[in-house]
């Protein structure tokens, strides 16, 4: 076994260049099709906003002094952040696996941690870009207050990281596009729609309130919304703990999968 390391590529700067290149590639991948990956989810969220606010604005008031449209916007932003963070890492991996070009990454000296970080950061950035675009457009409709910007940033970052990580797991696990669609339609969609995007869980019967509290998406939406209004269904610190803990667990599972080469290297 050889121990001498004189290769310039082993220096600190060039060892960062590998994961940076993968991150750059992942960012360019979604930016090249921004109409589909950024514009489309922004338009979808705005359609939700127009329809729900038009129908429910005069009928529903969740928090005192907060119009329904204002209540709805943070939920829609967070829902889009989560869905797009998941979509970025999962679709990139499943496409690379089905097309076979994942081999170009597997042949490189990138470590499992570098692989994870590149896909994770790209997913976070796409989620945040979509969320920011919806926020900027929604400003035309409602003057949204900000009670605690740090909570907004923390939940946006942790939420997109959690779903980006979940997307990596789904992308590694799925072998076909229909398996990935099942992941999206039977797990991600129900969990986001039943997380309190459109309502407060206090408006639900007690049984469904308990069920909602088992949904990690609920804590992400509620905590994010707390950052805007200073009000929520549960304590934001408790939500932060749940979301942070869930991210940690999923990140450890993902790193273990990547290190073992599960479904990537036989």
């Amino acid at each position: 076994m050889r121990h001498l390391e004189t290769d310039p590529a082993s220096t600190w700067a060039s060892s960062l260049r590998g994961p940076w290149t993968l991150l750059k590639k992942e960012l360019l991948r979604f930016w090249r099709v921004a109409f589909q990956t950024v514009a489309a989810p922004v338009i979808t969220a705005l359609l939700y906003l127009l329809i729900f606010s038009h129908v429910l604005e005069s009928h529903v008031q969740v928090y005192d002094g907060v119009p329904y449209t204002a209540f709805l916007i943070p939920g829609l932003i967070m829902m889009s952040v989560l869905q797009n963070a998941f979509a970025n890492s999962s679709s990139s991996l499943i496409q690379s696996k089905v097309m076979g070009n994942i081999v170009f990454i597997l042949l490189t000296p990138l470590t499992h941690m570098q692989f994870f970080m590149a896909f994770l950061i790209a997913a976070i950035i796409r989620g945040l870009v979509v969320g920011l675009c919806i926020y900027l457009v929604a400003m035309w409709f409602v003057d949204l207050s900000v009670a605690n910007p740090w909570l907004i940033i923390a939940f946006a970052l942790l939420g997109s990281a959690l779903l980006g990580t979940f997307g990596i797991i789904a992308g590694i696990w799925a072998d076909r596009f229909d398996q990935m669609a099942a992941f999206q339609n039977f797990i991600i969609m129900p969990l986001t729609f039943l997380s309190g995007v459109f309502y407060s869980i206090h408006s639900l019967p007690p049984f469904w309130q308990k069920v909602s509290q088992l949904n990690p998406f609920f804590y992400m939406i509620d905590g994010f919304r707390y950052g805007f209004f200073g009000k929520g269904d549960v304590s934001p610190m408790f939500s932060l703990l749940i979301v942070g803990g869930a991210f940690l667990v999923l990140a450890l599972i993902t790193l273990k999968m990547l290190k073992s080469g599960y479904k990537l290297r036989s």
């Binding site: 076994m1 050889r2 390391e5 290769d7 310039p8 590529a9 082993s10 220096t11 060039s14 060892s15 260049r17 590998g18 940076w20 290149t21 993968l22 750059k24 590639k25 360019l28 991948r29 090249r32 099709v33 690379s96 097309m99 076979g100 070009n101 081999v103 170009f104 990454i105 597997l106 042949l107 490189t108 000296p109 990138l110 470590t111 080469g261 290297r265 036989s266």
Partner: protein, 310 residues
């Protein structure tokens, strides 16, 4: 003392109950142009994939220029460029972007651009550098695939059937470029179905059969071991006389290949056929080539071989 470019020791691999590699030992020295031959299912690609880190061996060790491919995979992969067998590409990017990305994964930046240009020029891709990968023809995609493996300028290059389905002109061009890399000091390991390529290009040959290396020698030595003439007779569907049966090396579609030690045996064979009233429809006399060596060693596995390929 210089390290071997590749050292494979006692490598076994199982896929379920299939024992795909049965204790492979192989050393390839720096600067060699080495061919790994064998019929489909012999284990060539499994061995290459283990070398590339895409498959983990069940036992045994693999090292690249002294670096263990398992425990020192980062250093080992830095030194290795692998051209995969499947024609895969990333449809989001153009050729130059893909090459820059590939070099970047290995820690190389803009200082590597001159080498990228050299590869593009050498492989006839210069005018396609800014073309999206999905717009390239099959041949161009194959060139881009080879270029990607070379992007980080690896000293050891593995080509897994790089000319499968490639036209003659492109094949010649690819080999000229690969030969130049070999002259410049790169170690080349090649698996191919084109035996003539291996015979012309490679200084040493390993032949695999059912997960084992059945022959490993210089190309010249292998040809010498199996020297002699080969008489190919088109006879049709006949039953050969017993006295010439032992000279038959290969039978395919009514064409019988006889291995002869000297010219006098030609008359012996023809006389036996005349006596048995068997008509000779066509006749060829050839020197032994790598295909004959291969057929002798892998036996029935190679009997479906077409001339020049298997």
């Amino acid at each position: 003392m210089s390290q071997p470019a590749i050292k494979i020791s006692g490598v076994h691999k199982y896929f379920g109950t299939l024992h795909a590699l049965k204790g492979i030992d192989l050393t390839i020295e720096p600067g060699e142009f080495f061919a790994l031959l064998g019929p489909n299912g012999a284990g060539k690609s499994t061995l290459i994939n283990i070398l590339a880190g895409l498959i983990a061996p069940d036992s045994g060790n693999v090292s690249v220029m002294g670096f263990d491919a398992g425990s020192q995979y980062q250093q080992a992969r830095q030194l290795l460029g692998v051209v995969p067998q499947e024609l895969v590409f990333d449809p989001f990017f153009n050729v130059r972007e893909m090459l820059r990305f590939q070099a970047g994964y290995f820690g190389r930046g803009r200082e590597n651009d001159a080498w990228v240009d050299e590869i593009l020029e050498g492989l006839g891709l210069a005018d396609k550098a800014n073309t999206n990968m999905r717009r390239l023809s099959g041949g161009m995609k194959r060139r881009a695939l080879i270029a990607q493996a070379l992007a980080h300028k690896p000293p050891v290059i593995v080509l897994d059937e790089p000319t499968a389905g490639v036209d003659v002109e492109l094949r010649q061009m690819l080999w000229e470029f690969i030969k130049k890399l070999n002259r410049d000091g790169h170690t080349i390991i090649l698996t191919t179905h084109y035996l003539e390529e291996a015979e012309t290009l490679c200084s040493r040959v390993g032949m695999m059969k059912q997960g084992q290396i059945v022959a490993l020698d210089s190309t010249a030595n292998l040809l010498n071991k199996f020297s002699g003439k080969h008489l190919r007779l088109t006879l049709g569907d006949v039953v050969l006389p017993a006295n010439i049966g032992e000279l038959v090396r290969h039978v395919e579609n009514g064409i019988y290949t006889f291995a002869l030690d000297d010219m006098a045996q030609i008359e012996f064979v023809l006389s036996a056929l005349r006596t048995a009233n068997i008509k000779v429809l066509d006749m060829q006399l050839n020197e032994a080539d790598l295909e004959d060596v291969f057929l002798s060693l892998v036996g029935n596995s190679g009997q479906s071989a077409a001339r020049g390929t298997f």
